[in-house]
Symmetry: C2
Subunit: 252 residues, 2 copies
């Protein structure tokens, strides 16, 4: 006899600061940092980076760098002094030959902090607009409650992570296999639906896009706001982000 399919919850938590209010009852967390950490992580693993070691601080990244690892570090939108890379997915694309098969150590302002906070859960996967459909399809097969955690900006709500969280929630809720109880989830879904037809214009006023525009990172922003240009779902395994193997046996 097959198990009757159960109805699970999908909920959205806007920022790491709110995580303690939302995490109860979830064993699976999706971490999102559209601009730009999780977009870069999806892109790097899609391009053949073997694994990414997310670390919370620049100091940790320097220690790994000193041991000979390739390290990438971003703070406030810029590459940290002493590192060759930050969290630009466009840069991860252009360096894909040299990064193939490598371990990359990564620290960013918000995204790696959110991954660190979520690592108390059994399953942590990485979401972005870039892997939206691949991730949503996989989540629909899991028969688990799903908490979507936006990385925010220094613990504050941000618009682009909420749009992406709303896009995932919309797909899961639309299947009839998921329900949502939290107003944050309902709001994220509404915001996504208002934004989806022209995300670039919708985010015109967003604080982080303004921040990146000042740094001449419009090419990165365009890339990060492009849905479904990669199919990789990064998953946290023993402290490293690796491409999820869709064979369930391989993910035990």
């Amino acid at each position: 006899m097959t198990k009757a399919p159960s109805v699970n919850h999908v909920e959205v938590c806007f920022s790491p600061a709110d995580y303690a209010l939302y995490e109860s009852g979830f064993d699976l967390v999706v971490v999102i940092d559209v601009l730009r950490a999780t977009s870069a992580i999806c892109t790097a693993l899609q391009n053949g980076v073997e694994r990414i070691k997310p670390v919370a601080t620049v100091e940790e990244a320097r220690l790994w760098q000193a041991k000979g690892y390739i390290a990438a570090a971003e703070r406030n939108g810029a590459i940290v002094d002493g590192f060759d890379m930050g969290n630009s997915p466009v840069a991860f694309n252009s360096k894909s030959q040299q990064l193939k098969g490598q371990t990359v150590v990564l620290t960013t302002t918000n995204g790696t902090k959110a991954i660190d906070i979520a690592s108390n859960k059994r399953t942590v996967v990485i979401g972005a607009l870039n892997n939206l459909d691949a991730l949503s399809s996989w989540l629909l097969k899991q028969d688990e409650n799903v908490l979507i955690l936006g990385s925010g900006w220094k613990d504050k709500f941000n618009l682009e992570d909420t749009i992406c969280a709303g896009a995932i929630a919309d797909r899961l809720l639309g299947s009839g296999k998921f329900i949502a109880d939290e107003d944050s989830t309902i709001a994220a879904k509404f915001i996504y639906r208002s934004a989806r037809d022209n995300m670039f214009a919708y985010l015109k006023a967003s604080s982080h896009r303004r921040r990146l525009r000042k740094l001449n990172l419009n090419e990165d922003v365009k890339y990060c706001l492009t849905p479904n240009n990669v199919s990789t779902i990064p998953i946290l395994k023993n402290g490293y982000l690796v491409p999820l193997d869709e064979d369930p046996a391989a993910n035990q």
Copy 2:
């Protein structure tokens, strides 16, 4: 010579849990708890209640009650045992004759907690959809940065306070006298604009409306979602909420 008008900030903070992230730079805070504390406060003062003493705990409310004050206490949507009133604006309306000229002590699950947190500021005023236009017009005359604080639900984001905050922000931003930097403010404005033509339907799925429906409080919900049925702007003075006197000299 008259002072050149300056451009001020209007920003939205979704919940008391986020207040510390947003409060810097603001001397004026608008506290919102649409369902139902701030709607009840506006209604009570409009109807002739002389002043409202907001207190954070049920214990404090009991102490005031023991001294002979009329006290109202709500927790989780229901009137607390031992009190005659909770935070129903419809009840404040129906008891308006007996409450005229009285001091009422009030404690609620979220709203009075938010007022308590905001009381570190020079000016605290009370907002609801019920006094939307009166409050917005007054704010437009203040030449001050305005922080709009939603009371949320037990520190979580809620939809109805965000809609009301977005309505106020939309009016202030539309004047050209205010700007917004935070993504929370942009999101609140977008949510209000999606919701404004049918707020009742928009909030159908909201967690708090479901909570109140179970308690048969749909009449209260309809009242609270009706814009501009009162013109009173409650303001905190020496620990009491009183109707704001529009004569600036009276508010020194």
